[in-house]
Symmetry: C2
Subunit: 439 residues, 2 copies
Amino acid sequence: MAHASKPLRIALAGLGTVGCGVIRLLDANAAIVRARAGRELQVVAVSARDKGKQRGVDLGRFAWEDDMTAMAARDDVDVVVELVGGSDGPALTLARNTIKAGKGLVTANKAMIAHHGMELARLAEAARVPLKFEAAVAGGIPVVKGLREGTAANAIEHIYGILNGTSNYILSTMEATGADFADTLKEAQAKGYAEADPTFDIEGTDAAHKLAILASIAFGSQVDFAAVECEGIAQVRAADIAQANALGYVIRLIGMADVETGDDGASRLLQRVKPCLVPRDHPLAHVTGATNAVVAEGNYSGRLLFQGPGAGDGPTASAVVADLIDIARGETSAPFSVPVADLVAMPAAGSGNRTGRTYLRFTVTDRPGVLAEITAAMRDAGVSIESMIQQGQKSAGGEVLVAMVAHDGPEKNVSHVLELLGASPSLTADPLVMQIIEG
Amino acid sequence: MAHASKPLRIALAGLGTVGCGVIRLLDANAAIVRARAGRELQVVAVSARDKGKQRGVDLGRFAWEDDMTAMAARDDVDVVVELVGGSDGPALTLARNTIKAGKGLVTANKAMIAHHGMELARLAEAARVPLKFEAAVAGGIPVVKGLREGTAANAIEHIYGILNGTSNYILSTMEATGADFADTLKEAQAKGYAEADPTFDIEGTDAAHKLAILASIAFGSQVDFAAVECEGIAQVRAADIAQANALGYVIRLIGMADVETGDDGASRLLQRVKPCLVPRDHPLAHVTGATNAVVAEGNYSGRLLFQGPGAGDGPTASAVVADLIDIARGETSAPFSVPVADLVAMPAAGSGNRTGRTYLRFTVTDRPGVLAEITAAMRDAGVSIESMIQQGQKSAGGEVLVAMVAHDGPEKNVSHVLELLGASPSLTADPLVMQIIEG
């Protein structure tokens, strides 16, 4: 019955590791995929920059398009899979053309969805075609589906997690080895866990792309990547990890989002990516290596955790093909769970109203009066100190680390400390401030 | 547009904590649910054994049916939600009648799906109506959806997890307090974590129901609850937990399933529920309290973890309403991911071919020669000892615990040890054998 259905005909743009992974998956798992999809998933055309490149997969059976944007116009294609990357350029052109041509689009392109997801979803809803992007967030973990559908009955109270495998690999490796950031990054690059240009990963941009997508689905708000407060991990030192450990915490780059209600009754969305202290008995503290993990707290479901490999050709291909199976099965609901017209344009909350315990670390010159200067600034800003650790002299230059934990209090007071100390010649580097996640 | 659609009209059978939770959720989250479902989810009729019972929810707005099986015949109902429980009896009659009347069925009834899931899915496929049971497995964790859809592109290699909250609460409480099983069970009952009759939970039956359902979806096999090898936690002593801890492990009741290929090339399904030793750095070792967690290892996705509250009115209602939203959105794929006709009747593998490291614990009389007797039996069965711990005299009766870890080897050899020692008067209780999960 279902097996007699017509195949779902696919054009695949981008033949890097993920694109080739999709082809390998469709070959290796053909029978399973066909049984679950109810029909064959058939790649009919492919496109990439370099036709001649050796990729280890047989491409001779597919039509080749030199111009990938021409995929959208092919009569023999039902769905285009976009694996080119880049928020704009050919990927975006292909995406628009595909949807306007009445074809479904599956993409792993987090940057494009973070920047243009609203436009593309609006186009897809108007054209009544599927737009799916499970692979754009957290590799093979079905967390887009988990939020769109699995927790659909819930008001989501918080969503947070480890959304960048490279950063998590670096932080958990620093934790295991005691090595500093720069050396660990080099090692990660040598092992293929970090790219030659790791900027997007270590500065939090990649996590912010994913967070903006998840927040939209979770909170029914328009994707607002520009509003994500973003801070990377390059400032985290081995000494910070050691101090956190002594306090019972590990350091993780956490993307978090939630909605606060202002005094005016309006909802505001806080989205931020920052290194944070996570208690050692928290599920996210056990997430090591390139793994991703997302916690969603629903008002009825309670705290749910989705965890798994966050990147790589296999996991990403798994997510791409899951989307294709959904399309083959006729799944048609709104890309962001509710129609774009019903997504709220939610103003950004900013961190100003937040309270919590905070880890502060200063690097200072080793001379009399520096500690008095710091503690006076904290007093003047209304930040009270829960515990303080001064580390012995570390470098020939006489640099000393001072780490402290501030009691539960407004984050803006902590920011004020940094302002008060901003011009101080006693500080040898920018202070590092990390929120402490409780329970 | 979507908002102008007709409501999805629901009849709710069973008004215990979960049934009332569903009503409360639909009230509290009405706007969100309507936006995500694309139309209203409207309860029109309810039924329960006792009409007069105070439940803390307003039932006056719904039609009342004294005979719950009559729900199926109502013209004003699109979907029946079955929350009555029991593998047979009124729940099964209602389920059959509902589907035969061309209505959708949503159920949280793991026993019914484990015993009659194939019949009901066959009926539902023939009637082209949805049959959904996310709430039957692991409360609010969307793991049925995760396997049906999220990992649909994968050949699943293993599935295993913590599927019973009561058992996990007891084991992790024993771990935290050092108390023995009986006292911890009593405390769990007093706190509402264990039922007055805890048999289904502590003997593994509840976990086996869930495992049989997950295994069918994961491996494309017919649900085969009868083939689940099942052993509960009542034999686990505080001393076992202490020994496991000394070895770097915790004890968890693990449901696991995978497929082995026999010498004849045929696939055989192993399903078992057993207390196991889990390494302290394994994600499942950190799952404490009434939490559930499922690991699915796909050949492309890698190891995925789904974790959250495994029971309770809120989480279960979350799963029930997620199914209703799927139905409202028009989701129509096969209940067990592939049509029942394509599910394989897979013979049971049994544990005979399995190998691994094993924990064995004997309780013996404290007299000369007992240890020689045990070690001789192990030698004769070809089981080699990796480490052995003999505990000092424990009881007035002179009972002594002997715990050991056997090297990686065939499980059937370990079973042979138990046969050899079966008639020995030296043993004061049945030995406890637990598999050690690696990595």
